[in-house]
């Protein structure tokens, strides 16, 4: 019951915000923060629980089955932490309605990552598009971006839905996520079902060449929302690859492994190179995400246990540093009213605390040892190497070097260099903003030196033991 509350609390409380006075920003924010904090606490308290309620018995069995354990717990923690930090410093017009969307977003994604039923997964998959669409429509810069986001992702959602229905018919049940030792779906449909799921996951992650919605979306979405979207929503696809494709459709996954690794490599290189020449700070981070997520895709389709553990660490690490990056960029944009690298410079002289926080986060993003990004990358590379795919491991090294280049370019462009005379001089990081960044940075450091808790999940339910030699 408490587990259902984890999902329903943000949704219902988010809608209940409408009952608050429209113009009282303070009350609205305090209420939303309270809800986000309560959700975080609930996620911790319900660890290890699961809850099932019947749903469909025909044409296949489906249940409202939630479970808080394994990888899900870590992503749920990441989600609730990011949402809390993002809400804490939210400062947009029509705040109440925006906070409602943030909480709806949290609730829908929470449902997605705790769901143990494919149909339930598909339900939340579609549901989480709506808050982002409304956020883009109401607070974004161009309506076209909202359409691009929605059309790409809904197309993915539809193939996911069709694949779910076909899986249910072929298998008789959709209550199958995270169940260890499940019989495989031995069926001629398997490649088609795999294709339906894979398309949805590739769009959502996104993976080159289905990524074109992503830079515009990340640039246009208000910072607090994009911090959550880039940190957590982009992981839905990778999570799907782990718990659905690899675990339930292993034959097709193995058959498609080479293709996926190639797509990952192309995305990895392409994202890194394009990030080098971006002048919009948010777009730069968006392309760096494309690159990082490509690396995770390679790890997942190497079918190596070490790589899988590395991938999960990196999923969490990327969530932490990308949300922190977008939050900091949001603070900068709010102060200077631009985020163009051509316009900004020398902010560090006036705002040393922003510069310090930004420096730490950027270092985590480029994979400095001692911060969380590094432990993930190291395990992934070791795992890919161990799986025998030496060329992929070698190619994957290149973007890590490029990452240093674009991250340092971003940092130096914004914070270092001569001060630009006509930029307005603003206050440094406020204590509230510091409070929002502190847990993210602390978690980055902690996972950098001690990634063991995240990496020590029970891998048997994700079917890694069915490894094949390449």
């Amino acid at each position: 019951m408490a587990l259902v509350a984890v999902v329903m609390l943000p949704v219902l409380a988010g809608l209940a915000l409408y009952a608050l006075p429209r113009d009282d920003r303070r009350i609205c924010k305090i209420a939303a923060c309270g809800v986000a904090l309560a959700t975080l606490v609930l996620v911790v308290l319900t660890h290890g629980q699961s809850a099932t309620y019947g749903w469909l018995s025909r044409p296949f069995t489906a249940a409202f089955h939630f479970s808080n354990g394994g990888i899900s717990t870590w992503i749920a923690l990441l989600l609730s932490l990011c949402t809390l930090c993002a809400i804490l410093t939210c400062n947009v017009p029509r705040l109440r309605n925006f906070l409602t969307l943030m909480l709806l977003l949290e609730g829908s994604m929470m449902g997605l990552f705790l769901a143990r039923d494919l149909l339930l997964f598909a339900l939340f998959w579609d549901l989480m598009l709506i808050p982002v669409f409304l956020g883009l429509v109401g607070w974004g810069e161009h309506t076209a971006t909202a359409w691009r986001y929605l059309i790409y992702n809904f197309a993915g959602g539809l193939t996911l839905l069709l694949a779910t229905a076909a899986f249910g018919i072929a298998y008789g049940s959709t209550d199958v996520i995270g169940v260890a030792g499940l019989a495989h779906l031995g069926n001629v449909w398997q490649p088609w079902i795999f294709a339906g799921f894979a398309f949805a996951f590739l769009v959502k992650t996104p993976v080159w060449p289905l990524h074109t919605w992503m830079p515009a979306t990340y640039a246009d979405t208000p910072s607090p929302m994009v911090a959550v979207v880039s940190a957590v929503q982009s992981k839905a696809g990778l999570y799907g690859f782990i718990v659905i494709s690899r675990a339930l459709l292993p034959e097709s996954s193995h058959a498609a492994a080479n293709l996926m690794i190639w797509l990952g490599i192309v995305g990895l290189l392409y994202g890194a190179v394009v990030a080098l020449v971006q002048t919009d700070a948010k777009r730069l981070v968006a392309y760096s995400s494309l690159s990082h997520l490509g690396l995770i895709l390679i790890a997942l389709f190497s079918f190596n246990e070490l790589a899988l553990r590395g991938a999960v660490i990196y999923i969490i690490a990327h969530g932490l540093f990308s949300s922190a990056l977008f939050l900091v960029l949001g603070y900068v944009e709010q102060r200077e009213e631009t985020r163009s690298l051509l316009r900004l410079g020398g902010l560090g002289w006036q705002n040393p605390r922003i510069a310090g926080a930004f420096c730490l986060v950027a270092l985590a993003a480029l994979g400095l040892p001692g911060l969380a990004g590094f432990s993930g990358e190291l395990l992934i590379l070791a795992g890919v190497f161990q799986s025998g795919n030496i060329s992929a491991a070698l190619v994957a090294l290149v973007p890590i070097v490029i990452a240093s280049a674009y991250m340092l370019r971003l940092f130096q462009g914004l914070m270092n260099g001569p001060q630009i005379a006509d930029l307005p001089i603003r206050k440094d990081l406020s204590w509230l903003e510091g409070l929002a960044l502190a847990p993210l940075i602390a978690a980055l450091v902690f996972l950098g030196v001690y990634p063991q808790p995240v990496a020590s999940f029970d891998a048997s339910s994700y079917a890694v033991h069915a490894a094949v030699k390449k």
């Binding site: 409408y18 749903w55 469909l56 025909r58 044409p59 296949f60 409202f64 029509r94 309605n97 149909l119 598909a122 339900l123 939340f124 579609d126 549901l127 709506i130 669409f133 409304l134 429509v137 109401g138 607070w139 974004g140 309506t143 909202a146 359409w147 929605l150 059309i151 809904f154 197309a155 539809l158 193939t159 839905l161 069709l162 779910t164 229905a165 076909a166 249910g168 018919i169």
Partner: protein, 477 residues
């Protein structure tokens, strides 16, 4: 042989239908008696009360199975479910009269709407060709008058267009029935079910003509061109009623014909043209809806596509498929009539609120109304957490399971197109740059709000408790 109908007169079977018809008379009578301001309230109240009684009586006979009037009317779970849906849509439509300013001849409108509902209910239980035609004409004749009941000039165009085209379709259907009779010497649907006659050319031509009549009533492409014009011109409650009840009646006839009459060995081939038409309807309906600037026209085109989805469920004429078709029809009823109720709440004294431009900025002006509209549109688009989502999943599963994966593909394609249709409205309602419009007198009809609320609650509830009627199939025949 036609059995002597007087041998098996069982009035119990048609009690709900009679209640609805008599209520219509009561409304007309009340109009004579009541005076002044209460007239409107009394007429609507009597109409709703009568329909509610009919709904309860209907529900009571769920699970029974018998035929009366010499097989002319078949009572059973199937009939009951469809009658219930028709009565429900009539209830919501009558409730809308409380919100729409323009109501010349209110009592007459409500009475005609009730008779029209009775016609649709007759179609739902029809066991032979005569009853089908009787129901069809009762439904249509009342609707011709209803479409014209408005001061606007478009209403006359609407009524005339509907009259001419619908009569033509009825002619097709009647000719098909004549051919059936020629092929088998019987008007009973059960007696038609004979594999030997099913192969005869007379029967096949008759089936084709019969389908044309049905397709017109279901407004399937290419027999749909009347729909948007008629929907646009007709008064809002009538449009709401037509969008569900007419289709439910025609669908019931089609289902009975497909499941009980067509021989199972040929059914796939005979119904194939219908599936093709459904596939085209899903695409054309959604594509045409893209360009609309009037909400009623948009919902007309969206309804064309939605009926296409329902026909996908019937692919392969499986027992499960029928249940899901009924489930989706129910979901469609609540989502669609919910949307119509919102449109009714948008209307002012002089104008129905169906201009799409009027929805601009609604999210900031009337947040609750906009939220309700968004919710119903999400449902029609197949988004969770609405019955539209789960209904689509069930339909997809049934089509894939019956070996009609290509139809499922068309459904996905149609849904993808429909995304733009519905989210266009969402965007309008929640867009950033809003000029604060001048405050207008808000329509706040309590009955329409109740309709919105009930539709929304049921739409959510059906997601989590998909009540799929279980014992329909044995009762079709």
């Amino acid at each position: 042989m036609i059995a002597n109908p007087y041998n098996s007169l069982d009035w119990n079977a048609v009690i709900p239908l009679l209640v609805v018809s008599v209520t219509a008379l009561a409304v007309l009578f009340a109009d004579l008696v009541a005076r002044g301001g209460v007239k409107r309230v009394v007429c609507i109240a009597i109409g709703l009360a009568g329909l509610a009684v009919a709904a309860v009586l209907c529900a009571k006979s769920y699970g029974q199975s018998y035929s009366s009037f010499g097989g002319g009317f078949i009572m059973g779970g199937f009939t009951v479910v469809f009658e219930e849906l028709i009565v429900l849509s009539a209830i919501f439509s009558v409730a809308l009269y409380s919100a729409v300013g323009e109501a010349r001849h209110l009592a007459g409108s409500i009475a005609l709407l009730l008779w029209s509902a009775a016609g649709a209910m007759l179609m739902a239980g029809a066991g032979n060709l005569m009853t089908i035609f009787l129901g069809l004409e009762l439904l249509s004749l009342a609707l011709y008058c209803l479409c014209g009941m408005s001061r606007r000039t478009t209403a006359r165009e609407s009524a005339l267009k509907y009259l001419i085209l619908s009569s033509t379709a009825s002619g097709f259907m009647l000719y098909g029935m004549a051919l059936f009779f020629g092929a088998t010497g019987s008007v009973s649907l059960a007696a038609l079910a004979n594999p030997a006659t099913a192969a005869s050319p007379l029967f096949l031509v008759g089936t084709a003509l019969f389908f044309i009549g049905i397709a017109f009533k279901l407004s399937l492409v290419p027999f749909h061109v009347w729909t948007p014009d008629v929907y646009e011109g007709a008064p809002l409650p009538v449009t709401a009623f037509m969008s569900v009840a007419t289709k439910a009646g025609a669908l019931a006839v089609l289902v009975r014909f497909a499941y009980a009459t067509l021989p199972s060995i040929h059914v796939r081939e005979i119904l194939l043209p219908l599936y093709v038409v459904a596939a085209i309807s899903m695409l054309v309906g959604n594509l045409a809806a893209l360009a609309q600037t009037d909400m009623k026209r948009l919902l007309a085109y969206s309804g064309i596509a939605q009926i296409g989805y329902i026909l996908v469920a019937l692919a392969g004429t499986t027992a499960l498929g029928l249940r899901y078709a009924v489930f989706y029809l129910a979901a469609y009823l609540f989502m669609n009539l919910g949307a119509f109720a919102v449109v009714a709440l948008m209307s002012t004294e002089n104008e129905e609120g169906s201009r799409i431009a009027a929805f601009h900025g609604l999210g900031w002006r009337r947040p609750w109304l906009a939220a309700a509209m968004a919710f119903f549109l999400l449902g029609l688009a197949g988004f969770p957490p609405t019955a539209g989502f789960i209904g689509k999943v069930l339909i997809l599963a049934s089509a894939v399971g019956a070996g009609y994966a290509w139809l499922a593909g068309f459904l996905i394609l149609g849904t993808a197109i429909s995304l733009y249709v519905y989210f266009k409205i969402l965007r309008l309602m929640y867009e950033r740059d809003q000029q604060r419009a001048a405050p207008v007198v808000e329509n706040s009809s309590a009955l329409a709000w109740v309709s919105v609320g009930v539709c929304a609650i049921v739409t959510v509830a059906l997601t989590f408790y998909p009540l799929v009627p279980s014992n329909i199939i044995p009762l079709v025949k």
